[in-house]
Subunit: 175 residues, 2 copies
């Protein structure tokens, strides 16, 4: 088996994870790649930051909490659009918040199919704490200046709202 090692090492064997050493091929010019990778890193950091706040662990809970806090009576389907998630998934997120006593679902006054979402007093408290943690989480990007941070976030915010408001048919783009 180890007689195979007589060959000269392949060039890639010396590669390390630095921009000088790694060639990302087409991915270097692919926004999706960076979105995915950075999302991984950021999510891990976030999970650590809120690992003591059991009721709001999990991806969408924070956003749902803050959204409902800011917009009492908002509907789950709107939350789903903002989160860019499936309605059924958002439903489960809301289940979690509700069973933790942070959120209440009532029947909408204007459309009895729909639900109107509200925070409980505990939900409001949790929202305060969450806001604090979110602001703290900016430190994860501590070596970014404010200008750099703004430069990164601004195009993404713009893109985000385009996708949310425009019917984003998956795989079928405008030609």
């Amino acid at each position: 088996m180890e007689t195979e090692n007589l060959n000269a090492p392949a060039p890639g064997e010396a590669v390390v994870a630095t921009p000088e050493s790694i060639d990302l091929d087409v991915l270097d010019n692919t926004l999706s790649f960076y979105l995915r990778a950075l999302n991984m890193a950021v999510s891990r950091d976030w999970d650590v930051r809120i690992k003591d706040l059991h009721p709001i662990r999990g991806i969408g809970k924070v956003t749902a909490l803050l959204l409902v806090g800011r917009h009492p009576g908002i509907r789950p389907s709107v939350v789903a659009q903002v989160l860019m998630k499936d309605r059924s998934e958002v439903g489960r997120v809301l289940d979690g918040l509700e069973t933790s006593g942070l959120l209440a679902r009532r029947i909408s006054a204007t459309d009895s199919r729909a639900r109107a979402l509200f925070l409980t007093p505990q939900g409001e408290e949790m929202a305060d704490e969450v806001r604090r943690r979110v602001r703290e989480s900016r430190r994860f990007f501590g070596d970014l200046t404010e200008a750099e941070y703004v430069a990164a976030i601004t195009p993404l915010r713009s893109l985000y709202w385009r996708l949310v408001t425009k019917p984003r048919a998956a795989g079928s783009e405008v030609h």
Copy 2:
């Protein structure tokens, strides 16, 4: 019908998913939020685009394939750093590529703990196809000009490499 709809509708009941209507609270200034949401949208689009390429479905396979293609002999741990994923998860990604006949693992010539990764001829073909699809996927952002696309990707690329080369950034600054 035990819920009483007697009350006037809450303000949030009229909220729709537009930037004029929605207030994202602190999340509006939180990079993580946009990274997560956009990642959702982009990943869904990508899954549709490659749903016929069974062997490379799943998150990290594309990146691994292209990386190994560009750097024959690269080690799994380096791939893991680039993907920002757990080593064991990358191991399973490589398992998938290997059982699909796209990739081969050999013992590294320089360190027999490590593996040297190579694409098979089918792997090279697949990499060609993947490159094509990745370029096509740019169309998902079809309403972004090239300048806007560059404006979005440039800060993220920079941030990405900072995090890869300096994991666990705890307040020290780069320059």
